[in-house]
């Protein structure tokens, strides 16, 4: 808690450029919001793509994040780094989306089971156009990518968010802690467990061995 307060006070003492832009947005300067949007759109969408692994949903969620930031402009105070605030909203939305999606998927699986019981032999079959080495390489690469995506998807939502913020956004323990609204020691624990799981699942990729 004391670490949070300290970092918040530092942020207040020296507001970052984003916070200054956001203060201008508060005064009604939409051009500053455009600058913030241009600067943070790609990292935010990419974070959400990796979080929810659904391109359409990730853009919708990113729009919701920016919309919430814009709506809150009137009461904005630079009490923390702008990106920390942004990723806090994004993590919150993504974790909720994953929770709802899990329920929907469970319902879909039930429906699929019922349809299968009725009998359906017309499932689409993916055909390979040729068997040249290039295609084979693509398939191997896609298989690796799928394995990486699955490994991340298998992590609990908070561990997933912590790893993605740490690995791709290069955020420190303190910033991740503020974004996930937990202590720094909790973040360390989340990261340690997440990387442990990933090592177990992805270690064979180092030697090029298929599981």
């Amino acid at each position: 808690m004391a670490e949070w307060v300290q970092s918040d006070m530092e942020a207040v003492a020296a507001p970052d450029l984003d916070a200054q832009l956001m203060l201008r947005v508060r005064e009604g300067d939409d051009e500053s919001f455009r600058v913030l949007l241009e600067k943070h759109r790609n990292p935010l969408v990419h974070f959400l793509q990796r979080m929810v692994q659904d391109a359409g949903a990730s853009e919708e969620l990113a729009q919701e994040v920016f919309l919430r930031i814009y709506r809150a402009r009137g009461s904005y105070e630079p009490s923390a780094k702008f990106t920390t605030w942004m990723f806090r909203i994004a993590s919150h939305l993504a974790i909720n989306w994953l929770r709802d999606e899990r329920h929907e998927r469970a319902a879909e699986r039930l429906d699929a089971g019922r349809t299968a019981d009725k009998g359906s032999g017309d499932l689409p079959v993916r055909e390979l156009k040729d068997s040249r080495p290039l295609v084979e390489q693509d398939m191997v690469h896609e298989s690796r990518m799928q394995e990486i995506r699955d490994s991340i998807a298998a992590l609990p939502a908070k561990q997933r968010a912590a790893v993605l913020m740490h690995k791709y956004e290069e955020m420190g323990y303190s910033q991740i802690a503020q974004a996930l609204e937990c202590s720094e020691s909790a973040v360390k624990s989340l990261l340690f467990r997440a990387y442990e799981t990933l090592r177990a699942r992805l270690a064979h990729l180092a030697a090029g061995v298929t599981p």
């Binding site: 949007l37 759109r41 790609n42 729009q63 360390k188």
Partner: protein
């Protein structure tokens, strides 16, 4: 470093946040320790794998769609705007309601404290008592001044 590092050092290694000296020391140890060597290799595989994962480009119409939503909200103040207004007003209303309730309850629980009313009632009673005493004195005076008539006159 002869022993395996503490969990904190391992975590910092895994998180890529060991400083140069610590990293060199750990890597030197790992060369002699099969357990830590395995951790280094598998962690390197994780980092490489995650580096390979490239995101998809963002849709060209992302900004346009966002501004459309912002403009739509600005044009029609939604329930969200009303909610925002009530969110700001509600605490003040709650405090006001508490003060009024407290005042009313206080008055009901201490009726004797209503001093002005009590004073008014006693003043009225004193006046009435005084007037009654005056009337009685007047009647007494009239009674003594009038001579008694014989009983026969009354018949």
């Amino acid at each position: 470093m002869t022993h395996c590092p503490t969990e904190d050092i391992l975590l910092d290694y895994v998180a890529g946040s060991l400083n140069g000296t610590q990293l060199a020391e750990f890597e030197r140890h790992a060369k002699e320790c099969s357990r830590c060597d395995a951790l280094v290799a598998s962690q390197a595989a994780v980092w490489r794998s995650l580096d390979e994962w490239k995101p998809e480009p963002v849709s060209a119409g992302f900004n346009r769609e966002l501004w459309r939503r912002i403009d739509a909200e600005a044009a029609a103040p939604s329930w969200r705007a009303r909610l925002h207004f009530w969110k700001q007003v509600a605490p003040l209303a709650a405090v006001l309601a508490l003060v009024v309730t407290g005042f009313v309850m206080d008055r009901h629980s201490h009726p004797q404290v209503t001093a002005p009313a009590a004073v008014a009632v006693s003043a009225t009673e004193a006046d009435q008592l005084e007037r009654t005493l005056d009337d009685l004195q007047l009647l007494e005076a009239v009674d003594t001044a009038t001579p008694a008539k014989p009983a026969a006159d009354l018949m």
